[in-house]
């Protein structure tokens, strides 16, 4: 019989895998991996904010991921500094600020490792509410914009000419991404969250012929990785977040191998 904390971690991880899979597909299709990186590294500031104001940790992180999304929207208006440089700048500035803020707030040496790489022991019943209620909202929102978001991801000008409200759809997507990143921080940590989004999707791509097929395969890979990663963590006493990510990397390697050997596609 597994410990209750392990059961909570497993439920949380499986729920997250389902929500993260379709979202991660869009992150891959829209080439937003570094965008996701920037907002998830900013999550540490949110952790400090939550500690300082005695907020729910996920709520504190959500405030910050939304704020950074807004900041990136504003900074995207200028064209003097390329956007990818900007993302790198924000990601690392936010990480630095987060580490400092967390060390100031906690008063003692904070468990930085837990926040950076995830901590399954920290998953509470409240977190299960976050993933199952917040996750359902995120999934429902994503499904409601699925068609227009897919259309503009395939060809934005064509979608816009056909009457898709591209700015509004992209805004909804960015808010959903901020929400899921904020929830995911708990289990895989600020540094590995984006891996949990893009790795299942990337591993699913060579096996998929439809967008929805890719999301379903990604969800299956994500769930498999959560189960295998937690098992590895318990049996080998390895950190849980990195274990999950390592399993995902292995799945990706297996999935991409035939394409590499064929050269192309």
């Amino acid at each position: 019989m597994p410990d209750p904390y392990l059961l909570r971690a497993l439920l949380f991880g499986l729920g997250l895998a389902v929500v993260a899979a379709p979202l991660g597909c869009f992150v891959v299709w829209r080439r937003m991996a570094y965008y996701g990186e920037a907002i998830s590294q900013a999550a540490l500031i949110g952790v400090a904010l939550a500690l300082a104001l005695s907020l729910d940790l996920t709520a504190g992180v959500l405030i910050v991921t939304l704020a950074v999304s807004g900041l990136l929207l504003l900074l995207g208006r200028q064209q003097v500094v390329p956007f990818d440089s900007l993302l790198g700048l924000i990601a690392h500035a936010a990480l630095a600020a987060g580490v400092i803020a967390a060390s100031l707030v906690s008063g003692r040496q904070p468990d930085l490792m837990g926040f950076l790489f995830g901590d399954i022991l920290a998953i509470s019943t409240a977190d299960l509410y976050w993933i199952f209620l917040g996750g359902s909202v995120a999934l429902a929102a994503l499904i409601s914009i699925w068609r227009p978001l897919l259309s503009l991801s395939v060809h934005e000008d064509l979608a816009a000419a056909e009457g898709t409200q591209t700015e509004r759809i992209k805004f909804v997507f960015v808010v959903v991404l901020a929400l899921v990143v904020a929830i995911a921080i708990k289990i895989v940590g600020a540094l590995l969250t984006i891996a949990f989004l893009i790795m299942p999707a990337a591993a699913a791509r060579p096996l998929a012929r439809t967008p929805e097929g890719m999301a379903v395969v990604a969800a299956a890979f994500g769930m498999l990785a959560v189960a295998a990663g937690l098992f590895m963590s318990v049996t080998l006493d390895t950190p849980a977040g990195p274990s999950i990510v390592l399993v995902l990397a292995g799945l990706f390697a297996l999935s991409i191998l035939p394409s590499v050997l064929r050269r192309g596609r």
Binding site: L150, V154, L158, E162
Partner: protein, 305 residues
């Protein structure tokens, strides 16, 4: 016909006048006007109320350089309007600003309420990161059942591509599939930016015949961008010759003989066109394969008003 460039009117010089071809950056619109679209800037601006899409005094500048000035254009239901002009004339930019894809710097654009646009952009880069079948791509423009997707793909000679991945298509196949998506939307206005890229010369003629036939069947308006007046002659109701402003416009035969056209494309082009008659004892489908001759669909260049 209420449009100032309406069919049947004698050939008219463009807004800037034939002798003012190089005086780009005049007082028309200019930078004083705020970036606006679908905004009637001043009360005297009158759009053709019957037009599907209409622009008055449209001006566009990028990095301080004027790209389009003083463009007046109307496209009416059931009308095929072809935009021709040399490279760099601003054809694609004009199309994009009419579609609302580019912010304009002066003048106004009005799209009729409830306008359904089917659009085939000039360049279509397939993103291989997204797994997508041809059928799914076509249905992305408007939810359509399988039978309708098949029919519209068959219309453009791409029926066999239904289950293929978009990323596996050749350039010519992709052009046809993009056209099929535009048609699947059941458009009231079809906007095709150089639809013949990747299609050979005979396929090009077939493509324009198809567009002419579908126009007759379904009654949509068509805005076509072409680099070559030659090939679009038979199907166009009206040709607008563009070089950052409207140089001249009218029925194709008139434009071909206009001095502005000769200046832009060289006298040989105009002479060649004046005597051009396409003699074909067979047809080609869009893939270029010859077929037995058949009567062309509908009287070409039929007068519409």
């Amino acid at each position: 016909m209420q449009g100032r460039e309406g069919l049947g009117l004698p050939l008219q010089p463009g807004a800037a006048g034939p002798l003012a071809r190089d005086s780009i950056g005049d007082a028309h619109g200019g930078h004083a006007a705020p970036r606006e679209q679908k905004v009637e800037a001043r009360s005297p601006v009158v759009h053709d109320p019957a037009a599907l899409i209409s622009a008055r005094g449209l001006a566009l500048a990028r990095s301080g350089r004027p790209i389009l000035t003083g463009i007046d254009i109307d496209i009416s239901p059931g009308e095929i309007v072809t935009l021709i002009g040399p490279n760099g004339a601003g054809k694609t930019m004009l199309v994009r600003s009419l579609l609302g894809l580019e912010p304009i710097d002066g003048g106004s654009v009005r799209r009729r309420d409830g306008l359904v646009i089917g659009y085939a952009p000039q360049r279509f880069e397939v993103d291989r990161a997204i797994p997508l079948t041809v059928a799914r791509f076509v249905a992305l423009g408007r939810p359509a059942d399988r039978a309708e997707v098949e029919r519209v793909l068959a219309d453009v000679g791409a029926g066999k591509l239904l289950r293929r991945q978009l990323s596996e298509l050749s350039g010519g196949e992709l052009q046809r599939v993009v056209l099929a998506r535009a048609l699947a939307r059941r458009p009231s206005l079809l906007v095709l930016d150089e639809p013949s890229r990747g299609v050979d010369y005979a396929g090009e003629a077939e493509l324009y015949t198809l567009i002419g036939r579908l126009r007759t069947d379904r009654g949509f308006g068509v805005l076509l961008v072409s680099h070559d007046l030659h090939i679009v002659m038979a199907q166009s109701d009206r040709v607008i010759c563009l070089n950052r402003h409207v140089c001249c416009s009218g029925v194709p035969q008139q434009v071909a003989q206009h001095p502005e056209y000769a200046r832009l494309f060289g006298p040989q082009a105009a002479r060649a066109l004046a005597v051009y008659h396409h003699q074909h004892d067979h047809r080609h489908d869009l893939a270029g394969a010859p077929r037995p001759a058949a009567t062309p669909g509908g009287p070409a260049g039929e007068s519409r008003s």
